[in-house]
Symmetry: C2
Subunit: 110 residues, 2 copies
DNA sequence: TTGAGAGTTCGCAAATATGCGAATACATTC
DNA sequence: GAATGTATTCGCATATTTGCGAACTCTCAA
């Protein structure tokens, strides 16, 4: 995921300070990356929101840090729904998958 | 997917008539199954909405009808995002995956 | 400098999804 | 009944993801 910034809501801020305080390199890519959220990025954001390290999430999901890292890699496209569900469960969330028509009705608000 | 009903929008109606006209068994489970949409069901609905048979979709996705059938099976949980993307593309849509917090903010409207 | 924590990348074994044909069932039409 | 179109299930080969450790970078703190 090449370090990600936040600057979103206050909650995110707080958690971020917990892991990024005084770590310039990590605050680098900040502003960008809010657009076109890939699944990888969403996993990353969900994890940070929970204030967990890859290692912690790995334990919660019953896998290893390297696997979590792979799943958060921006160029990784091989996600399975079962893994997404495992992650969601560990982070007290649920996975929602939907097909959005390319043309026609406007995209879902939020 | 054990046959599914529709009775939703007019567009769906039209397409359904195309495949279900005079086929009682298929109109059986109708009313139900609108709730708790599984990924399998969403694939099924998307396909019907496009007015395609499993065979047709299989061709469009470059696979076989049996595979499509498996993906639409209600008890199938092994979906991959790559396959969902292939299906979405074939049906002129895109896949959106999101993690929804179990507690906290209300669910996304539509 | 040394040590610890977080993240990344590599390689390979193991688990799982896909690819695909064949056989089966059901409904419609002839 | 026979033929056609659609959907389902089974089995197996192939492809892909996950599981996992090792080695490496970078940052912060003694």
């Amino acid at each position: 995921m090449v370090r990600k910034p936040t600057r979103k809501t206050d909650a995110v801020e707080i958690i971020h300070r917990r892991h990024y305080r005084g770590r310039p390199k990590r605050l680098a890519g900040l502003e960008q990356a809010r657009v076109s959220a890939s699944v990888s990025r969403r996993i990353y954001e969900l994890r940070l929101r929970a204030g967990m390290s890859q290692k912690q999430l790995a334990r919660a999901v019953d896998t290893t840090p390297s696997t979590i890292c792979r799943l958060e890699s921006d160029d990784y496209e091989g996600h399975s729904l079962s893994m997404l569900r495992r992650i969601a469960t560990a982070l007290n969330a649920r996975v929602d998958v939907r097909f959005i028509p390319q043309t026609g009705r406007p995209p879902t608000s939020a």
